[in-house]
Amino acid sequence: MRYLPLTDADRRDMLATIGVKSVDELFRDVPQSARLGAKVAGLPDHLGELEVERAFQAYAAKNVSPSVAPFFIGAGAYRHHVPATVDYMIQRGEFLTSYTPYQPEVTQGTLQYLFEFQTQVTLLTGMEVANASMYDGSTGTSEAVLMANRVTRRHKALISGGLHPHYRAIIETTAKWEGFQATIGKVDAEGLEELIASVDKETSCVVVQNPSFFGHVRDFTRLAEACHAAGALLIVVVTEVVSLGLLKPPGEMGADIVVCEGQSIGNGLGFGGPYVGLFATKEKYMRQMPGRLVGETVDADGKRGFVLTLSTREQHIRREKATSNICTNAGLCALAFTVHLTLLGEAGFRRLSELNHAKASQLADKVGALPGVKVLNDSFFNEFTVSLPKAAAPVVETLAAKRILGGVPVSRLLPGDKSLHSDKSVENLLLLAATETATEEGMASLVGALKEAL
């Protein structure tokens, strides 16, 4: 077996040193009733590398790769070009096969890039401090609500209907089992005023998304003011982090916690994970943050170095009194994010953002010109909602049959939801996204196929 260095001779020598006759003796504490004499039944034996590769090629062949199909899907995960340098860098063994940097003397590489990452996140979001990443944006949002509950000592969260339905479902699940209240508002195009009016002295936080799940771009400054007047926190979620190259950052709107899905920068779509959650807040709430934090310090020679810090918040020190049970971050995905954003730099990041907005605008104009199709957004970044003259899900299937990946039917994520866009049947709504990867030809294929399908 290619991964196992011990030879039979080694094993015999080692058993002799230990003073036992067989490896079975080392398992003697396992109750007799639970010992498997032979290997686990019903599973195949080991395969060579070539056979493994072929097996995965066979899985891949049963899928439609976005690399070869016109592609317009977003809804919380976005297809962007990732420079080759990014993937090369994260595959360096020193990064790939290192553990959480508990021993800072031999993990300065990880610690320094995480410090750079934290700084980049504060710049993007317009916030004062950021942690070293969360599992992803969706779980990070739920952690933000828990943090707001801790800060305010209140237990009532108001959730905008414009928040990604999966994110919202996770908050509801957490609320149900951890014991707090989560109230879902209307979709944000109509719901902003309602949210402002709903904030009261029991509200721990209001959670909004910008651009919203439906693509709308909003200013939450007045909502922030209403939150602060009532002693509540404003949590702003960003699922398309590339938008922050072009849009007013949540920190400038008065957000108290900002959570982003960082996948768009450096990380491929990967069928939903692993991704990387960005988590930023104000300095005064620093000690209530979940997750790992990297801080600057000096070593015994007075040289600058970095360490994991403020760990008295964390489970391995505080146990049942910890701010969160989290012990991993998304280290390698955070590295991918950092390397890509460093390659982009100020000029590249802003241009990437402009490109996304321009491509989506072109797509909106083309699709909106189709008979019976209406673009519902007055504002958007790189994704928008259209209403079709018929149900969207079968239309998307028709497109898929032609190997065109033409958006996400809203009904897939909000089945049977009648509260949204009350004037439009949710069944007819389609979310379309275009990034810098969208081409003229791809858009033409989509528009042509849509026209046929409608």
Partner: protein, 532 residues
């Protein structure tokens, strides 16, 4: 560097060491150890590492919310970026470099074929919300891994979506809360039992769900005290959270009795599967009466730790808990694979959703590649070699260092600091001295139940000759410590790493969590500072 230089004023720079004998270099570098500034100290306006086309002119639809100022990102060219992160990488220890004996973390070899297949077009580039007709292979892949996990553990169901071990714990404990809810017992069963030696995540998870955590003491053999456990069980107990093999590296020999007592009391058995790598292919947790167990794919199944993540923590569930598994899961309908997503009409009462989309697909792919490469035969050998290697290290060091408990261990060897008594050398000093010998330290001061604990997990990935050298290094260090004259040298360690001991107190007292322009006053060149 200005901050650190200010802070270093008045500091002696530690105990006089070998480093003071080295001739200073102009750059501050020492051969392959290259001082590296932050990207924010390197950039120049006008540099970029990407070439993007001019965006077409379109009508702005940003609702008047265009960002006013600069983001503040530095500009670097591609070669600078490559050099920067390559230099940083060289400041890390890694599995790829040698023995990484971090107990409880399972730093085994990470095969590169796993990385390759995870990046295949048609796998690595799939969108999670593509029409299910276009991702049939991906769904089949997840189901295949699920099948392996269920079969290896002897459990009927698995929830694939949790993003990490701690997330899996949350999933499992929520399933237990849901099952209690269904029986109308959630209000009265508010206590969760956990051994004193438990991972910190266990009490943190239980507490987050509103349970009161009651610690169960260990007996003199490093196992759960069965009598104490039985005394603690009652109508108020929801569950026990137990790691097996436990955090002392020992198999809970009375596990069947424990499981029976827990179930007789109407409670559930949560098994922390962090150490499943010791028994995979040899013992099925389902045969031990486990109700749920998370599996850290980044431990047992070799997905890379990546400097602290990402991981994945699927949770296997007993028949009693399976109805509460969270969305989503994969179902086969005729010859079509489908996804049961939120709101789907299903049997059971799903506890909700824990993560967007379908879970850590990239980790599933790597774990399945590892599993297929080993097969049923190889996985059994993995457990045996891991246990053999740990016992070999324990046996070879038992006269020099002090094993915490008698008898064979499982996949990790636990020592206490008795052998360092009166030497002036602490567990921390001993661990830091290992760095100068070219090793990553073992896990130290965990589990908490052992004084000055040193937990060594060699894994199955090390050749015997490498284990022998590692053993030789530890023997040499232990003998030096016991000589009674080396305490100062140990306190000064490490000397040869990219940084010497870091001031963690200072970091926590005055937290600097980001670079700011003011950290670096004008006119101060960080590179020059580093050289001084």
């Amino acid at each position: 560097m200005a901050q650190s230089m200010d802070r270093s004023q008045g500091r002696s720079g530690g105990i006089a060491t070998g480093s003071s004998m080295e001739a200073p270099t102009f750059t501050g570098n020492r051969a392959l150890q290259i001082e590296e500034p932050l990207i924010f100290e390197m950039g120049q306006p006008g540099r970029t590492g990407v070439d993007l086309p001019e965006p077409p002119k379109v009508k702005d639809r940003l609702n008047g919310l265009r960002r006013a100022g600069e983001v503040g990102l530095p500009g670097l060219s591609e070669p600078q970026v490559v050099q920067h992160y390559t230099r940083l990488s060289q400041k890390n220890y890694a599995i790829d470099m040698g023995v990484y004996p971090l107990g409880s973390c399972t730093m085994k070899h990470n095969p590169r074929i796993n990385e390759k297949v995870a990046r295949f077009a048609g796998i690595g580039d799939l969108h999670p919300l593509q029409p299910v007709s276009t991702v049939q292979g991906a769904l089949e892949l997840i189901d295949r891994l699920a099948h392996w996990l269920k079969t290896l553990t002897g459990m009927p169901a698995v929830a694939m979506s949790p993003a990490a071990g701690a997330h899996g714990e949350m999933c499992g404990m929520m399933a237990i809360a849901a099952a209690l809810d269904a029986k109308g017992e959630r209000a009265k069963r508010r206590t969760v039992l956990a051994p004193e030696s438990a991972h910190g995540t266990n009490p943190a998870t239980a507490a987050a769900l509103g349970f009161t955590v009651k610690p169960i003491p260990a007996n003199e053999k490093g196992r759960v005290d069965l009598a104490a456990l039985k005394a603690a069980l009652g109508p108020d107990v929801a569950a026990i959270m137990l790691t097996n093999p436990n955090t002392c590296g020992l198999f809970e020999s009375e596990i069947v009795e424990i499981s029976k007592a827990v179930h007789d009391a109407g409670a559930y058995f949560y098994c922390d599967g962090a150490n499943f790598n010791a028994i995979v292919g040899r013992v099925r947790p389902g045969d031990l009466g486990v109700d749920c167990m998370h599996i850290n794919l980044h431990k047992t199944f070799s997905t890379p730790h990546g400097g602290g993540g990402p991981g994945a923590g699927p949770v296997v569930l007993s028949a009693a808990l399976a109805p509460y598994a969270p969305y989503p899961w994969i179902v086969k309908n005729g010859d079509k694979w489908e996804v049961a997503e939120d709101g789907a009409k299903v049997d059971g009462a799903p506890l909700g959703r824990l993560k967007a989309f379908h879970g850590q697909m990239g980790m599933f792919t790597r774990a399945l590649a590892y599993i297929m490469s080993h097969g049923a035969d190889g996985l059994k050998q993995v457990a045996e070699d891991a246990v053999l290697s740990a016992n070999y290290v324990m046996a070879a060091l038992q006269d020099t260092m002090t094993p915490a408990f008698d008898g064979p261990c499982m996949h990790e060897a636990l020592f206490d600091d008795t052998f360092l008594k009166d030497t002036g050398v602490s567990t921390l000093d001993f661990a830091k001295a290992m760095i100068d010998e070219g090793y990553h330290p073992m896990t130290m001061y965990f589990p908490l139940v052992v004084h000055g604990a040193m937990l060594i997990e060699p894994t199955e990935s090390q050749a015997k000759e490498d284990l022998d050298q590692f053993i030789g290094a530890l023997k040499s260090l232990a003998e030096r410590a016991k000589s009674g004259t080396a305490a100062e040298a140990f306190k000064a360690a490490p000397l040869y790493s990219p940084r010497r001991r870091l001031d963690e107190t200072l970091a926590a007292r005055k937290p600097i969590l980001r670079w700011k322009p003011s950290n670096n006053p004008p006119g101060i060149d960080p590179m020059k500072q580093a050289a001084e």
